[in-house]
């Protein structure tokens, strides 16, 4: 039996949910099917929460990639583990909720540096300075309202970018434990800022943002729950354990159907739709398109110019850790998220050799008092440890640029959700090492100013947390898989709404921008589909 919908979404993360919400709010009768290969995981169970506190075990741990399952070729070890959640709600089930705008120069990376790629849109397309006068939509601002982002609009970079608009919620102030690093930054000319965090509902500061018992941190699950429960949206349906195998295309190259496997029953089902939106993340979106060959798409839909899966890029982590012999004030990192960050090196001047987005390690300084008690340490011994050596770490995302030879391909076999395995071939740009050392040296100056002993200044391999660009947008099919509206070149009805469509990964977290892009796609679909 074939079922028909106006829209079918492959994936149930923040992208699919945000577009669907936009469509349903425009026309509550819209018929939408949303599929996810993964299961639904309990979001706010009290037992789960206690188990998280006691064992650091989360109910979605089984939705991560298994170590060793996927492979890396090239000269680094790509980090797969714990970088995405394959479940209802997608990766916002586990994200840190850092909600940072890209900056205007990020949209012109190639023009500015002759590396990577330009976006076919500009910052002003997401945040028009004349929005109120012209009636244009400020997608970044709407996304911040939707996610309830807390932040400080008075930071210098925000004064330049926000068109005078405040954040929807006040910032989380710096903690006392941030103080020494704040002053170290200021000494070397780095402006300290406050991390913008998405707080969806009332935060009661348990410090357990990876599993919040109150639903305070934005999690797309909650929005999806609301859409499903809303009696106005009778034609909206979501199915889990539904692994899409193939996009069937017709002689013109358009999407004609999708086939999915119900992994609970083993049944294969066919769905037709007027519009198809692949919103399955950077890995799965491109892999599904690679597998979907057809009369016009011998090498996979959208892949006639061999760009599908190419240019994969993510952040490399830079770390500088310092120690001081005593901690008389017993500083600890009281929140489970960083309150201190800086965009002082996330500037046009730094773009050529790679911007960095700096932030204080969310865990340090810290003393696990309970663990010491379990070990049988006495009160006096614990007190001595609390006042003893203290470690603080500054971390940064380093902006790498997409390169043609870095690519994602299919590895034979499937995982436990029926999704194909992944191979990533990644070769570091030879210029990376000198550039990263320069950035580490800049970060180290903060610790010199703090008079801390530097324990390490190092970089990690990139990983999948913020992977982008496997279906990147371009001006033409020669330089992109998708166009400025994230529609696959050569099709009339197939879109990719994912970080996969981003032409670059910039230096900051992508989810706020993805949310803004999803809202923009929703408006595009409303305009173009007669919804």
């Amino acid at each position: 039996m074939t079922e028909h919908f106006q829209f079918v979404f492959i994936g149930s993360g923040v992208a699919a949910i945000t577009v669907s919400k936009r469509l349903l709010e425009h026309n509550p009768n819209a018929s939408i099917l949303m599929l996810d290969a993964g299961p639904k995981v309990e979001a706010k169970g009290r037992r789960y929460w206690w188990d998280y506190l006691i064992f650091d075990r989360k109910p979605y741990d089984f939705c991560y990639d298994i170590k060793g399952e996927n492979e890396t070729k090239g000269d680094i070890n790509w980090g797969y583990f714990s970088s995405r959640v394959m479940a209802y709600g997608g990766s916002t089930v586990h994200w840190g909720a850092w909600s940072v705008r890209y900056k205007p120069e990020d949209f012109n990376l190639y023009s500015n540096t002759e590396e990577g790629a330009d976006w076919p849109i500009n910052y002003e397309d997401l945040s028009p300075p004349d929005a109120e006068a012209t009636g244009k939509t400020d997608y970044y601002y709407e996304a911040e309202q939707y996610l309830s982002v807390c932040g400080d609009p008075e930071e210098s970079w925000n004064r330049e970018m926000r068109n005078g608009k405040p954040y929807p919620r006040p910032d989380f102030g710096w903690t006392a434990a941030d103080g020494v690093m704040i002053e170290g930054m200021q000494t070397v000319g780095i402006e300290p800022g406050k991390m913008p965090i998405a707080r969806y509902r009332k935060c009661m500061t348990t410090g357990t943002c990876k599993y919040c018992p109150f639903g305070s941190r934005f999690n797309a699950q909650y929005v999806l729950d609301d859409l499903i429960a809303d009696p106005r949206y009778q034609n909206f349906e979501q199915r889990c354990h539904a692994t899409v195998l193939n996009i069937v295309t017709d002689d013109k190259g358009n999407a004609a159907a999708i086939e999915y496997l119900d992994t609970r029953t083993g049944e294969t089902r066919t769905i037709t739709a007027d519009t198809y939106v692949v919103a399955a993340g950077t890995y799965e979106s491109s892999k599904l398109m690679m597998r979907s060959t057809g009369p016009k798409w011998e090498n996979g839909v959208g892949n006639n110019t061999d760009l599908l899966g190419r240019h994969i890029v993510s952040h490399s982590f830079l770390r500088v850790k310092g120690t001081t012999p005593t901690n008389p004030e017993h500083w600890v990192q009281e929140y489970d998220f960083p309150t201190l960050m800086s965009r002082s090196y996330d500037t046009p001047e730094m773009q050529k050799d790679g911007k960095i987005f700096m932030f204080k390690n969310r865990v340090l300084p810290n003393t696990d008092i309970a663990k010491l008690m379990m070990q049988g340490k006495t009160r006096d011994e614990i007190n001595a440890i609390l006042g003893g050596p203290m470690a603080i770490e500054m971390q940064a995302f380093y902006e790498e640029k997409g390169r043609f030879e870095n690519r994602l391909t299919l590895k034979p076999g499937t995982n436990r959700f029926g999704l194909p395995l992944t191979t990533i071939e990644y070769h570091r740009d030879p210029r990376f090492f000198k550039r990263a050392e320069d950035r580490l040296a800049r970060m180290s100056k903060v610790f010199d100013a703090m008079n801390y002993k530097i324990e390490h200044a190092k970089y990690d391999d990139p990983g999948g947390h913020h992977a982008t660009s496997t279906c990147r947008m371009g001006e033409t099919e020669a330089d992109g898989v998708t166009d400025r509206d994230m529609k696959v070149f050569g099709t009339d009805n197939l879109y990719v709404c994912s970080n996969a469509a981003f032409p670059s990964c910039t230096a900051v977290n992508p989810t706020l921008t993805l949310t803004a892009m999803s809202m923009r796609l929703g408006d595009h679909l409303i305009r173009t589909t007669n919804l």
Binding site: R47, T175, T206, E334, I369, M373, R379, I382
Partner: protein
């Protein structure tokens, strides 16, 4: 811990599998709740990190035990076992020494818990310690102490109370 001979008598030294102990009951009786609470109170007494014999966090403790016994996997077998072990230790060493040995000098070998004593320590005492610390015990060590800790519920009803120790710029006069 391994420098000391393992404490306890035949109950404590009874050999069991490392995984959670089963029990035929599906809920704890009131007197068993009371016995467990008495064990919990001894944690605060031993480390001196919470006032009034932990009375201020009793509701959190009850919620914790309820979650552990009403949803799978059930901890009823572990709780019943811990009560038996502690009763034996108190018989052997007296009340004060029993808990001192249990917390600070129990001689439990490293590795998976394969005795009833080790089960009581790993599945009950250690988890109670974590719960007690999270619920407010973290504030009771060296002063000044932090105001927040991973898992601590500050409470939205008290927004006028600072959630964390906040940064005060030097020279701000605050």
């Amino acid at each position: 811990m391994t420098d000391t001979e393992m404490i306890g008598g035949p109950i404590s030294k009874g050999v069991v599998l490392a995984n959670l102990l089963d029990h035929e009951d599906t809920f704890l009786a009131a007197h068993q709740h009371d016995q467990l609470w008495d064990i919990f109170v001894e944690i605060g007494r031993a480390w001196g990190n919470i006032a009034n014999d932990s009375a201020s966090i009793k509701s959190s403790w009850r919620e914790f035990v309820h979650a552990k016994t009403s949803e799978p996997p059930s901890y009823i077998g572990e709780y019943v076992n811990a009560i038996s072990v502690v009763q034996e230790l108190v018989r052997l060493y007296g009340h004060e020494d029993a808990f001192h040995k249990l917390f600070f000098a129990n001689g439990i070998p490293e590795g998976p818990p394969v005795t009833r004593l080790a089960h009581a320590k790993v599945y009950v005492i250690d988890e109670f310690i974590r719960m007690q610390t999270v619920a407010g015990g973290f504030k009771g060590f060296a002063q000044p102490a932090s105001l927040n800790y991973k898992g601590y519920v500050g409470g939205s009803r008290y927004n006028e109370t600072p959630r964390v120790r906040a940064y005060t710029p030097k020279g701000s006069g605050q």
